[in-house]
Amino acid sequence: MRSKRSTAAIWGVLGVVAVLAIWELYKLLGPSEGLVVGAVDGQTGSGVMLLPRTNDRAMPHVWDMVARLFQSASGGNTPPLIVPVVTAALTTLGIAAAGWIIGVLVGALLGLVMQRWRLAEWGLLPWIVVSQTVPLIAFAPLVASIGTQIDRGGTPWPQWLSVAVIASYLAFFPVAVGVLRGLEAPDRIHLDLMRSYAVGYWPTLLRLRLPAAVPHLLPALRLAAANAVVGAVVAEVSIGMRGGIGRMLIQLAGQGSSDPAAPWGPTLGSIALGLVAAGSVALLGIGLKNYRRGEATA
């Protein structure tokens, strides 16, 4: 078991190293101005770029990206870049967590209702699937404006709450489907057994369906966490909320030409954010390991 786990860890590290190596190798060998076919002279941006540029402005060295994190954020006496990156990432993490909780509650409720009443599954499931095809960019301003109206109406509705609601919109989907599938997971024999004990819906739910749903629930919760992070980042950008990592990404990307390594700071920050979010859910799985017996565990 331990050797299996350490093997997995080694492969994980190798994967990351491989990405870095490919980046640096291409930077070393690729054409510095890229390879463009069919460009018209004097017309910038014309033609089709087949190979991306490798100059320092387009592709900073990996070590420059890391070094930039520890240099002052915007010159002068400002703290190193990593400080605002971590602050922004934590802000977004908090909002994503709120979105995750809302999404999990709504998703679980929908899953329960759909499992309980077949008619509800027929009526709700298509809408739930369709809901995920609505682009977030279209949906976010709507939520923001509803939020503003509520706020004007006297009930306080901070901007971050809108972001959390938008994040929950992405998070609830895997939970709803996972809960539905999970609650339907018990074997026929177990359902027969509960029937033979002449117990009703609630004891069956608590003693059988919920525990049996755990193996379906954990991946759903992990997916929901990743979705909540993506949703929160995109929502921050699209409704223009300050303080989060999404806004910071856009801001620093705008300065990319003069400070090419800087946007990679918040990029790494958002990657770390996603890992922390998914990792926290994985911790939940450790606490529930008795409910995952019989599952093929890696």
């Binding site: 074997d187 024999i189 177990h190 027969d192 057994l193 029937r195 033979s196 004990y197 002449a198 117990v199 004891p203 003693r207 059988l208 525990p211 049996a212 755990v214 008795n290 409910y291 017996r293 019989g294």
Partner: protein, 265 residues
Amino acid sequence: MSDDARIAVRAAGVGKIFPAKAGDVVALTEVDLTVSAGEFVSLIGPSGCGKSTLLRLIADLDAATSGELEVFGKSAHQARIDQDYGIAFQQAGLLPWRTVAGNIELPLELHGMSRAARAARVAELAELVGLTDFVDRHPDQLSGGMQQRVAIARALAEQPRLLLMDEPFGALDEMTREYLQSELARIAADTGAAVVFVTHSIPEAVFLSDRVVVMSPRPGRITAILPTDLGERDEALRESPAYFERVTAVREALHGAPVERANER
């Protein structure tokens, strides 16, 4: 003893039809069977003869389409509500997240028995099926035979007067199977419970039962009921001529039953 308590199961003209798009499937027709209290009765027959269906009707997991079915003088439904039977299936059907003790006490827990009383009962049952040292294990740490023993202990947890078993040893190897047959014979004798036992195996049916009910498919029905009259169940019985005689009789009844035998019932 009142009449209700002496008769565990009484079926009269019981039939079961499963509606299907391609036409109704007659799973059982005109089943007449009486199982006395404390009696061990096996249902045997080829696939599709309705033996499992009959068991499910007695357990009120499915409802009969026609006829009368009584369990201890009540409707099968009422008997299920009153928890008059314990049941075991071909798969042990243990909850993988619960320990052996947790699985055995599941029905007790669901029916609100106190923690202390449950612990005492679990200890008794674990002793009865010889799993005292394994109560803290999880099902995935047990062999198939041990899992099935847990399932039997669970079925016995509430001291039912009737035990319903649907090929409980069907998935086990021959050695484990014979061992558990002897154990079951002992347990049934100890508890005094009536047993309705579905099986594919002729020797198993003969070894365990007071009466063997032979069934036949299309439509599922009872074709013969053979008493065994073998007395005490011990290992010597498996080698006795009387035992082989009964095995032959059941085999004859199963494969092209002579007309006289059908008349006998």
